[in-house]
Every structure is written in C-alpha cells, then in structure tokens.
Symmetry: C2
Subunit: 148 residues, 2 copies
DNA sequence: CTAGTACCTGGAGTGAACTCCAAGTCAAGC
DNA sequence: GCTTGACTTGGAGTTCACTCCAGGTACTAG
C-alpha cells in the first residue's frame, strides 16, 4: 500500500505519516527496492495504533517510548505494561475532566435555552457552578449578576 | 484577591492568569487605584470557567469568542447558546474517542498482564483491534506476529 | 526616605505536533 | 529515452498555549 493510499484510508496527511515514522512513533515502514514506502499489514497496524493514541490526546513522546521498548524485545514487556497502564490512567483523568465540563455546559445551555425562548435572562448565579476544582463550593454572589 | 492568591487557589501560574486576560479569554479584571489586579467574585467566576474549559481541552479561541459575545450584550444570547452547544458537541466526540482508546488499552493491558504472569507471549493478533476508524474490522494476520 | 518585594507591561522565547518546501529520485506511459 | 507525476529527504516554518524576561511601578516595613 502506498503512502497516498494509507493517507486516504485513515484520513491523515502524508506528511504526518512520514513524521510519525521519522520520530519513531511507529517502527520503520517496509520499503520497495527503490526506497518507496510500501505499507504491509503490520505497518498499518502501527499506523492505526498511533492514530488511535493521538486522537485521544496521548503524547507522541509516550508512543515513541512504547515503540522503543517494543523494538528492544521481550525483556521490556513489564515496562510496556507499566507504560500502557500509565496512559490509561491519564485518559481516565482526562475523561473525568471532560465529563465535568460537559455537565457545566449542560447547565449553561439549559439556562440559555430558557433565555432564548422567553426572551429574558432569568438567572442570577455567578459563573462558577463547580468544575472539578477543589474549591468548587463557593457561595453565591449577592446581586443580579447575569454572567454564566 | 491578589493575582498571587488566585494563582495559588487554582494552581495556575500568574503568567497564565495575565495571559488569559490579555487575549480576552476572561473580561478585564478589577484593578486597584494603582493598577494592581484585585480579583472580585465575578472575576474569579470567569477565571474558574476559563480553567474548566481549558482543562477539558477546549480551544482558547472559542472561549475568547464567548467572552466577546458576552461583552456585546443580550443580543448575542442566541449566538452564545450556539457556541456552547458546539463546544459540548466537540467534548462529546472527544470523550467517545477517549473511551475507544481506553478500551483498546484495556485489551492490550490484559494481554500484557498474562504475558508478565506466565512469562510468555501467548497472543498472535495484529496491532489493530478497532479504534473508531471506519476501517476497523481487518482480518487477522497469518503468523505469530506478537506486536500489540 | 529607603530598601525590598510584589506587581505591571510589551514583547520575545519555548515545546509540542505537525505542515510546508526545495531539490532530488523513482516509475509508468509514450 | 523522455516526460510526467508520485515519491524521497532534511530542514525550515507554523500554530497553539503558554512561559519567561527586562525594565519599570506600586505597596510595605523599618
């Protein structure tokens, strides 16, 4: 499979595919005699994995480390396991933060929806309604502050 | 409240607080006669909102737009509603991507855990086990390819 | 009044992750 | 063999979100 085909298949630029390989985020891709990339099934597996990790927001650096360990052989299996567990921990944290923010957006949106329907602003809360900050429970302001 | 206190309260640098204000991610903060920032309850609400949105990964740019609309007054309420709904859509997408990646990590981790326990690599799947890509359902490779 | 510390601004610098470019190589059609 | 278009590399440029810095101003203790 040519780089063009892979780029179309995964909707990612050819430059990014070359970049991933260059920095070691995927192992070296199979080449033709002439030096042209010819992605095999295994190469595609790595590409797909890289895209999956990146689209979840994981660092390029940690994927590079994973590939480095993989290339060092079976002795690095415990280290790889630890790395994967750490990445999972990061994602779970990020997911929790997103959920908190979605809740906050839901609340704001419900207030705005009412305002749009009735043509009036009817709330008087301060901007903060808890956001996962340790300090989230603050007292309400005294006045008709309509920011949200 | 001084910038130092706010920075400690939310565990964010003073530079970042000034940056948020400078680019318009929060409205201008209350100042003392001498020009020193003196965060009021309302200012803190904006700071907290900004931190919440950023920690979920939303763009600074969209927060700037929200503040701009807010400062233009009530006529922009429908536009603000639309903006918030768009941000929520983005977060839900990102959340789904994270969930997919966590599942993939779970699978890999379970395989590695077995390998660490038994001291042997016992799987033979290719690297890809579905990652939200349209192309996810690929055939297994023919050999004992132990990449994952 | 002075020393010292916290704060101010505008602007430059940084790191991450691409993205683009120039100059050259490879391969398919005529 | 020659043209044309896709591919190659190394390196430079871009964007985003900070982060740092220099030179100056404001409050606080002695």
């Amino acid at each position: 499979m040519t780089i063009k085909e892979v780029s179309e298949k995964y909707d990612i630029s050819q430059d990014t595919l070359r970049y991933y390989e260059r920095v070691g985020m995927i192992p070296p891709v199979t080449r033709t005699a002439g030096g042209i990339r010819d992605y095999q099934e295994a190469d595609l597996g790595w590409v797909e994995l890289a895209i999956c990790m990146r689209s979840a927001g994981l660092a390029v650096e940690s994927m590079i480390e994973y590939v480095r360990l993989y290339q060092e052989g079976d002795s690095t299996i415990p280290a790889r396991l630890q790395l994967l567990e750490e990445q999972r921990r990061i994602l779970k944290e990020q997911k929790a933060q997103i959920e908190t923010t979605i809740e906050r957006l839901d609340y704001k949106i419900s207030r705005y929806a009412i305002a749009v329907e009735t043509g009036k602003l009817t709330w008087d809360e301060a901007a903060a309604e808890a956001c996962g900050n340790t300090d989230a429970k603050r007292q309400r302001t005294d006045a008709g502050d309509k920011k949200l």
